[in-house]
Assembly symmetry: C2
Homo-oligomer: 245 residues x 2
C-alpha cells in the first residue's frame, strides 16, 4: 500500500484518528503536510490537491487520504475504507455498519468539543467569543459529555461479545478512536472528567488497554505524536473547565 | 426488504435524507414513530429500541434503520448501507467512498445549519440564545454557505462524468441529499440565498432536476412529506436571515 495522509501540520486534530489506525497496523504512510517542500511535500502540496481544478473528486477539507489515484475525504470515511485493509474492522459485514455508526457518533462529540471554544464562528478567535464559549462548554460538561459517555459505556456493556471492545470481540479502529476522544477530553476538561473512571469504568479500561498496546505505546512515545495544544480541537482553557454537576 | 425507519414525528430533520432515498427507489418502508401505538408503533416504540438493555447495538439517536435484526445508526451510514440496495449508489466500489465523503460533508453543513439557531446549547430554547444565534447565523451566511456551496458547485464542475450528478453519471443518494440541503437552506435563509441560482447554476439545476423526478414529485406532493417548520433543523427566523455580503 502506498498511503498518503493529508492533514494540517502542528496539531493532532481529526487526522489523529486516522494516524492511530495506521500506527496500530504498523503500515508505512506519508504525512504529506509534514514533509519537506524540497521533496514535493508540505502544506502547499496538500493545498495543491485540495485546490486542483483537475482533481476528479476534490476533498472539502483535511484529513483526506490518497491511496493511489483514489482521494478519500472525511475521517470516518477514511477509517471505513482503511478498516478492513488494516485488519481493524469487524470481519462480519453487518458489524462494519455498527462500527461506522459508532465512529460517526464519536465524530459528533469531536465537533461539539470543537464548538466549546468556537460556538459563534470558526473564523473568529477564541478571545472574541469567550463568554459564549463558557456557556457552551459548561453545557457540554453538564449535559453532553454525560449523555454521550453513558451511551458509549452502555455500548460496551451490551456488546454481546463482551465489554472489552466497542464492536465484536477484536480491536477495531473504533476502539482507537474512543481512546483518542477520551484522551482529548481528559486534556481539555480535567476537572470535569476527574471521576471519569468511576462513572465509566468500561471506557476507562478500554482507554488504558489501548495505551498499553505495543504499537500505540511506541507511537505515543515517538515524535510523530504531536502533543495536545491550543491549535487543536481539544483545548485546555481553564476558564471553560469546571467540575461536572 | 422489510425496512423500518425510526425518526421523530412532526419534522423533516435528518430522517428526510433517508426518506428521499426510500421514496425515489419506491420501496416499502415503515415510519415507526409516525405509526399507531395500537399497532405497536409510535414514538414510544422508537424509544423502546433506543433504551433497550438487550439491544446488541443500540443507536445513540434517531434516525436509525432496522433491516431485520440489524440496527443502523447515523444518516450517512444508513445511506451508505441502503445506497447499493436501492440502486442509488455508484456501481464502482471506489466511487462509493467518494459518495460517502460528500454525504458527510453535507452532514457537516446540516449540523452548522442547526447550530445557527442553537449555538450555545441544544437543550436551551432558541429564545434563550437569540443574540448568539444572530452572530452565528450571519457568519454562516457570509462565510460558511459560500465556502460549502462553492465547493459543491466545483464538485459538479469537476465531475469527469459530467455536471448533472455529484458522483458518476447516474443519480445517487448524494444528489437527493444535496437537493434537501439546498431546499432547507432556501426555506431558512431566503434573503441570503436570493441569488443562489446565479452563483451556483449547476447546484440549482440539480435541485430542479431532483424535484422533477416522478417519485420525488409525488412524494413532495403527498402528506408523507411534512412541511418545513420551526421544530426542524432548517428554521426560518427572519431575524437570523440577511442578504449575503
Amino acid at each position: 500500500m502506498s498511503l498518503e495522509l493529508y492533514y494540517w501540520d502542528g496539531l493532532q486534530g481529526r487526522g489523529e484518528f486516522v494516524r492511530l489506525a495506521l500506527e496500530e497496523a504498523g503500515v508505512d504512510y506519508v504525512e504529506v503536510a509534514r514533509g519537506k517542500p524540497s521533496k514535493g511535500l508540505g502544506t502547499k502540496a496538500m493545498m495543491a490537491v485540495m485546490q486542483s481544478p483537475d482533481e476528479p473528486y476534490p476533498p472539502f477539507a483535511p484529513p483526506f487520504l490518497k491511496d493511489g489515484d483514489l482521494v478519500i475525504a472525511q475521517t470516518a470515511n477514511i477509517l471505513f475504507y482503511l478498516g478492513p485493509r488494516l485488519k481493524l474492522a469487524p470481519e462480519v459485514d453487518s458489524l462494519r455498519y455498527v462500527a461506522n455508526g459508532l465512529q460517526l457518533t464519536i465524530a459528533d462529540v469531536v465537533t461539539e468539543a470543537h464548538d466549546t471554544h468556537h460556538p459563534l464562528a470558526s473564523g473568529l478567535y477564541y478571545e472574541e467569543q469567550k463568554d459564549a464559549a463558557k456557556v457552551r462548554a459548561h453545557d457540554f460538561i453538564d449535559h453532553r459529555i454525560p449523555k454521550f459517555m453513558s451511551y458509549f459505556e452502555r455500548v460496551l456493556a451490551q456488546n454481546p461479545a463482551g465489554d472489552s471492545f466497542m464492536v465484536g470481540d477484536t480491536l477495531t479502529y473504533v476502539d482507537l478512536s474512543m481512546f483518542q476522544l477520551i484522551d482529548g477530553l481528559l486534556y481539555a476538561f480535567p476537572r470535569a472528567l476527574k471521576r471519569f473512571g468511576e462513572h465509566y469504568p468500561r471506557l476507562a479500561a478500554l482507554h488504558d488497554a489501548v495505551i498499553a498496546r505495543p504499537n500505540i505505546a511506541a507511537y505515543l512515545d515517538s515524535d510523530r505524536r504531536i502533543g495536545h495544544n491550543e491549535s487543536c480541537i481539544f483545548r485546555h482553557y481553564p476558564e471553560l473547565d469546571k467540575a461536572a454537576t
